[in-house]
Subunit: 246 residues, 2 copies
Amino acid sequence: MDLTIAKQVLDNAFRQKQLCMVIGNCKAEYWGRAASKLSEGDRMLLIKGDGSFAIHQNKLLRPVNYMMSASMKTSQENGQLVVLAEKLKPKESLKVFFSSIDFCQCFEMHDIHDVRLFGSEKQLQELLGDDLSFIEPGLTPLKREAHFEQGFADIIAEDSKGRICLIEVKRRKASLDAVSQLHRYQQKMKNLKNKEVRALLLAPEITENAKLLADNYGIEFFKLDFEISNPSAKIKGIEKKQTTLV
Amino acid sequence: MDLTIAKQVLDNAFRQKQLCMVIGNCKAEYWGRAASKLSEGDRMLLIKGDGSFAIHQNKLLRPVNYMMSASMKTSQENGQLVVLAEKLKPKESLKVFFSSIDFCQCFEMHDIHDVRLFGSEKQLQELLGDDLSFIEPGLTPLKREAHFEQGFADIIAEDSKGRICLIEVKRRKASLDAVSQLHRYQQKMKNLKNKEVRALLLAPEITENAKLLADNYGIEFFKLDFEISNPSAKIKGIEKKQTTLV
DNA sequence: GCTGGGAGAGGCTTA
DNA sequence: TAAGCCTTTCCCAGC
């Protein structure tokens, strides 16, 4: 395909915020938050109406080079079609050099619906929030998402003995990060209230090291059994995993 | 475009591991790690030779629905072209229903070069590893074996007073996570060696709360000044940020 | 605008 | 295979 034609097609499409696809042999240079060089090869350039700019190889989900909210400019240099994406804050530039183009076409896209997702962490929290006796008898919610200066806990509750309980819900296997995160909230709350604060971590699983760290911090782990149905999610059960006494 | 033709084009392209692009009006259903429903709209389906499967809207960098390493199957149901992506471990399925297709084409992609990235965290570590006196006079790296055996800090060194120093390098502004991460290493090392262990956090910046937490944990923060040049990165300077005495 | 944190995170490396 | 961690993470909600 002729590079000059391709340039015209793109320039017009940018104005109309169409979805643009270019396939051809190209190289690319990025400079900004990092820097990169991509040598010649067949790639697909995907440009979207909101300025999303992505160079895709024929592998992996993610683009090999990309920019969000970019301003685009095309030009011809040395018999190549150059597509430049630029951005301020942070200052970035991505330059693609097409030596040949197999395909270049743009489409108007009519799309008013966004995806509805079920089984997110937030949804699990909501399912739990209503009835914490699932977790432990006498546990009553105080307020959801109480904000601290350092982040927040998913649920704050009070147990039957009047102790504050911070509850963190994870939809995936809990890792060291999750334990550290909850520990930070626990420490912060302890300092605020100047009394004992329980920390409860709910997750479908936990890694071995994370469990050790949780035990070390006095964080209680509960196995959260849930299923993703459609169009929602359902808590099937919650079981406390006691610290193994050595 | 005729749906039956599109089906043939795709079936053939899957066998040849080509890059496939389909544009048309579709809806989609996902079930697996979570569940989702996407109502009708114009979208682009991008399928790659390695089984990467992505439904793109005309906005955002990321696909609205996707699957990696998927097995693909096409079929026709009720006058719709159905493209099904499935996977085991974890068990997932993504079904796309095209009611109409504007475009469907596949390309053989010749591409042997991958991107070379400069300014990664690992590269910064390597630049530092050679000469720690940048950070503090008398700081010397410990044996590489120790680094590998433990494997949980970027760099392990010894200061002029013979104390073990754990050094964590971050290429971006250090957050609470970074501080927690380094603190975990510090605690672990303390328990192993049963003596004082210094923890040094090197980053271009640090958030306010992260700095407070670092101070609280006795983690020392150093401002790391580097620049991304081409084709590499360069450490420009390292300056210790003392705890502000209130 | 910055900060914190989730994500169906993805993707890589090492044990 | 699992765990841990980096990413030009992306993306969003709060402040």
